[in-house]
Symmetry: C2
């Protein structure tokens, strides 16, 4: 676990803000936005501290390193729980429900920043790539297992590839027609792809 | 056009290699590999020069800036021609042929480096993001127009999202089950997705 990433973070000594939790949350929110906007390599302690209204030294005091700040900022606590909820109901429409959860994250400011920060940063920073790898091989493969599909690792990775590509093309690169579509339109376009990857017969035993 | 990116590149004065074209090609090949391995921000003139066996000053002399070197290194001259070839034949199986071209690029060292370098770099460098945007909105949308599909921009962007995500998950993040699949297995898994995005009825007029 990153140093200072839990509630036992060191109490800052400047006293500029009411309490350490508030300051810490402000730094994390600023870091999340910055990592989402420019990716891991171009985000700096200085910019993040300025956006949070604190001294850069305080960011270092709280989080130690950029990697620890990144890992604390891009936590997504209830991902598997939310995806689990999509599994209730008819398995034949699970793809649409999974698409609705994933696209819904892009419609929520905090979740959207976390996802964009992770995926943008995965292009160069191994600790970010590891988070994306885990989402593909653990969370989405777990969805496949719940649905009773064969080859959960391959199916999870295929579903991850479509979602990661959506975030890259729609949010990072900003390809206009996808950026302009309403969330529910995206769900209808992507639902059958997730349905096929997660549950339908695939040529995997050839 | 990037300075020095055509055949009229300035002749290097060191005379270390037989001729400017050979030196230039060695620099471009080294740059392509390095941008693919670590992305735009972490690639340096110094590393690229060392890999090409030349002085860093010569790289600057040839290409001027990192952005110009990047744009020269990640050219992919015949993409639209190759994709065009996939359009001949039965439109009902065009998705598989497009998948075969795209997956085939990942099986070719030079094309693979170009694609990974572009997509990895698109996460932080706007000039790389622009190349990905053009591929989605021009080359893949053109495929849709050839196939007579409606909404070519949305269809092209959806197809691009699946391919960009494949490169991210398989090549950049390195999710094992996808990395281990044979190219023709990938073609069979992805073909129906491209078929649907490129030609089949989509809920786009709601």
């Amino acid at each position: 676990m990153p140093r200072g990433a839990d509630s036992a973070a060191p109490r800052p000594r400047t006293g500029r803000r009411p309490g350490p939790t508030t300051t810490r949350d402000a730094i994390l929110a600023a870091a999340r936005r910055r990592f989402a906007e420019v990716g891991y390599d171009r985000a700096t302690f200085r910019q993040i501290a300025a956006a949070a209204g604190v001294d850069p030294a305080l960011v270092v005091q709280f989080f130690g390193s950029k990697q620890e700040l990144f890992l604390a900022a891009v936590r997504m606590p209830d991902a598997s729980g939310v995806l689990g909820g999509a599994l209730e109901g008819d398995p034949a429409t699970a793809g649409t429900r999974v698409a609705r959860v994933l696209v819904g994250w892009l419609d929520d400011d905090a979740a959207r920043s976390v996802l964009i920060a992770r995926i943008r940063s995965a292009a160069s920073e191994p600790s970010a790539a590891e988070l994306v790898r885990q989402a593909a091989t653990e969370q989405l493969a777990e969805v496949v297992r719940h649905l009773g599909g064969d080859h959960p690792d391959v199916r999870g990775a295929l579903a991850a590839s479509q979602f990661v590509g959506l975030v890259m093309v729609r949010e990072v690169v900003g390809v206009e027609p996808l950026a302009a579509l309403a969330p529910e339109e995206l769900v209808e376009l992507l639902g059958p792809t997730f349905q096929r990857y997660l549950t339908e017969p695939l040529a995997l035993d050839g």
